[in-house]
């Protein structure tokens, strides 16, 4: 497989655009840079940033989307994290939640662990795999114009949606969300379900 052209989009810029005027949006972020990115855009109660469970971000989004069919659910994760949970494309396709969008910020690297190339650097096509699994709304986004069109789709179009956004392999300053999983869980549930949801 050959190396495709160098990505140009900045991941923080992408996430700022995806989360602008987020309102009631429910956001799950995969471990590592994606979690820092959503936090850089604001540490909200309706964020669920992961510190582990590599490969689970998309299925967390699925369970949440099925439980909350009236709310939009957005999963933002890395290419490495998504590669560890590829089966979830098929599982999401079968359930077909209209309110779920999965965005992979594809820097073609395992950024958190030393910038090793992921399979996507050699041509593995995550959007193609999602499409082949049965997710209808897939795309690979490479530039600003495409991003601006994609934001509206990701935020509002009928799901399930799976978009790959090619981003530069930069290491950016960490914006660190709270680490305590039980706190993140309660904060999220209370914001979504009310104070009685506290454990």
């Amino acid at each position: 497989m050959t190396h495709p052209k160098q990505p140009v989009l900045d991941r923080r810029h992408v996430v700022e655009n995806l989360l602008a005027d987020r309102g009631e949006l429910l956001v799950v972020a995969g471990l590592g840079a994606s979690a820092w990115d959503i936090t850089a855009a604001g540490d909200y109660a309706l964020n669920f940033p992961l510190w582990g469970g590599m490969g689970s971000a998309a299925t967390i989004g699925l369970g949440l989307a099925l439980a909350q069919p009236e709310r939009r659910v957005l999963v933002i994760t890395g290419d490495g994290e998504m590669l560890m949970g590829l089966g979830s494309f098929a599982t999401i396709a079968v359930q077909a939640p209209k309110n779920l969008a999965v965005v992979v910020l594809d820097n073609e690297r395992y950024g958190e662990t030393g910038m090793q190339e992921t399979h996507t650097a050699f041509g593995t096509d995550l959007a193609g795999m999602a499409a082949a699994a049965g997710i209808a709304a897939t795309a690979t986004i490479r530039n600003e114009a495409e991003l601006q069109d994609a934001v509206a789709v990701i935020r509002h179009a009928e799901g399930p949606i799976m978009h790959v956004i090619k981003v530069k392999a930069d290491t950016l300053p960490k914006a660190v969300p709270p680490k305590d999983g039980a706190y993140l869980r309660d904060r999220f549930r209370m914001a979504l379900l009310g104070d009685a949801a506290a454990v």
Partner: protein, 171 residues
């Protein structure tokens, strides 16, 4: 096996526990229960490609205010250890019902290592485990595990012994 009632007892227990999302990776021992879950629209039966997906699914379900359960073969316990760590770190409720292989008269030697270590593997991650040897105890064990899971929140598993399911012999 056709006139056994324990799969119906599990289904009734899941109803009593207000379980809605039922993720599953098939096992022969769960055939009847999976059929029931697919046919009954009070629950949403969700086929998974791997048991790991079930932990994510049920984490999301509970964040969204719904209860769920994971139906699996005991060997799937080997697939989920790192996901159990996520559920543990977040103290998420997790109700698992596994039909066991590799425990009692197993004909497939590749099933034996996980069958013999499943319970310990779960306990190492702080999962409450009820191993059930008698069909009449299965339904009650699921209720008890569900109470541990959803009142905790905590992780609990019911392991249905191969003595209940029966072991085939390929001669």
């Amino acid at each position: 096996m056709n006139n056994t009632t324990w799969p119906d007892d599990i289904f009734r227990a899941l109803m009593d526990l207000d379980v809605i999302q039922v993720g599953y990776v098939p096992d022969a021992g769960h055939t009847k229960l999976i059929q029931t879950c697919i046919a009954d629209n009070r629950v949403r039966a969700i086929p998974l490609t791997s048991e790991e997906e079930g932990i994510g699914l049920l984490a999301g379900a509970w964040l969204g205010g719904q209860r769920g359960a994971l139906l699996m073969q005991g060997s799937g316990i080997g697939n989920i250890v790192n996901m159990l760590c996520m559920a543990r770190a977040c103290r998420l409720p997790l109700l698992m019902v596994a039909t066991m292989r590799g425990q009692w008269g197993e004909m497939n030697p590749w099933q034996v290592p996980m069958g013999q270590t499943a319970e310990e593997t779960l306990k190492l991650q702080d999962v409450t485990v009820y191993s059930v040897d008698r069909p009449e105890d299965v339904g009650e064990a699921v209720i008890a595990a569900g109470r541990i899971a959803f009142n905790g929140p905590a992780m609990a598993a019911v392991l249905i012994s191969q003595r209940i399911i029966g072991s085939k012999d390929f001669k």
